[in-house]
Symmetry: C2
Subunit: 219 residues, 2 copies
DNA sequence: CGCACCTAGGGTACTGAGTACCAGACGAGC
DNA sequence: GCTCGTCTGGTACTCAGTACCCTAGGTGCG
């Protein structure tokens, strides 16, 4: 009924919020200010975003749904890889946001309330990861291992994302692969690993055997 | 000047808060209610605790200081073990609280605002761990590895603490040792490990070689 | 002794986030 | 035309958190 000429109210509120937070600072901006600049009423703000903090964050619900679907589609044996792919979905989302993500990062690093809020959002992903991993594993320490891997995946993702946001990382997906290699090594459970020495008898010389093994390992 | 007969105001406020939160629920308890039951003014509440949430949490500052001291005292080579010991300090603190810790756990699991607050507290420990680990390490991935280990230590600690709070774990320190073994395995960097196949020539039969190797491995 | 200073508490008034409730505008469908 | 659902605006309220000023007690010092 009002001027929908430019963009829907929800988007205009986000634009207004980012602009005002950057101009005047988070604490010196009221929800009234945001609503006024967006050309809507205060009520409309709270209808779209549950709190003043929420307006600068992406809609986690959609991402969480996509990730849950990805995890459910994974085979039990590759659930750890699926979790990594889920983290990649999140990373791609942030990278796809571009400047908006960088703007949010600047705000988060300077406003404690927003930092707390971001953490609360991340916990949802971590919980989802841990839950699905625990469901697929069935050893005695499944719960513990699931939580460790979930924490690792989130930490690795954050490390890479922060690097990209700061401009230190130019290829975030490659950096994610590298970071996740540490986490996956833990996930595959090298902890209780046993090493066996296999002895076989052959007429070939040591050099011949070494060559054969090397070729076999190299395919 | 007022009735200091029983306990100092700060403690009375904590008692009042826990009691009221349990009786009426967190949302249906106002700061005025808490102050009134503690027999102090509202101003006094905010003088001691920065927010309504803060009143049920332990003073992290003291713990963080002790932990920082413990970490600074550690040798570079054993910094990862020192982080584990730091986590043990925190665990002991909570276990030492006894029922109070269980009361808090009940509140945290049911009140989102308190959950967020707890997470914000944990981040401080995780940041401290990651920072000290990063300082002591100097390889290319030091920052990443430090964050992964810090996240793992916190996750392991939380897993054990939750188990104890729920009554599933009776010996939390032993459980911590066990959980930390997973984290430390990652910290010691098994990641870039290479496996070599050693081929040697011998006149002995496969059975003899296997026996010899087995005896050597068993000392 | 008197004075300055510090600490712990109390009271009042204000801002602003978040909630509840009601009312109007619009489009779709019957 | 009428109704239903959806989006919106406005008003009034609660309550957390802040700012400011006040009082009572204890302590050190000249």
């Amino acid at each position: 009924m009002t001027t929908d000429a430019v963009a829907p109210a929800a988007e205009r509120l986000v634009e207004a919020a980012f602009a005002l937070f950057e101009e005047r600072g988070y604490d010196d901006t009221t929800v009234d200010d945001i609503a006024a600049r967006a050309g809507v009423g205060r009520t409309t703000f709270f209808r779209h975003y549950g709190s003043k903090e929420a307006v600068i964050f992406p809609a986690h619900d959609g991402l969480l749904d996509r990730i849950a679907a990805r995890l459910d589609a994974a085979a039990t044996a590759t659930i750890d890889l699926a979790v990594v792919e889920a983290a990649r979905i999140v990373l791609r989302h942030y990278v796809g946001e571009g400047d908006r993500a960088r703007q949010r990062y600047r705000l988060i690093t300077s406003v404690p309330a927003l930092r707390d809020r971001e953490l609360a959002g991340q916990r949802q992903y971590q919980r989802l990861f841990a839950g699905r991993l625990r469901d697929r594993w069935d050893d005695a320490d499944a719960g513990l291992r699931a939580e460790l891997v979930a924490a690792g995946v989130v930490a690795a993702h954050n490390h890479v994302l922060r690097g990209w946001l700061r401009g230190d990382v130019t290829d975030p997906e490659a950096a994610l692969d590298h970071a996740m290699s540490y986490v996956l090594a833990q996930a595959t459970g090298d902890v209780e690993t046993t090493t066996s020495v296999v002895v076989v008898q052959s007429r070939r010389s040591a050099a011949e055997v070494a060559d054969t093994v090397r070729r076999a390992l190299e395919h």
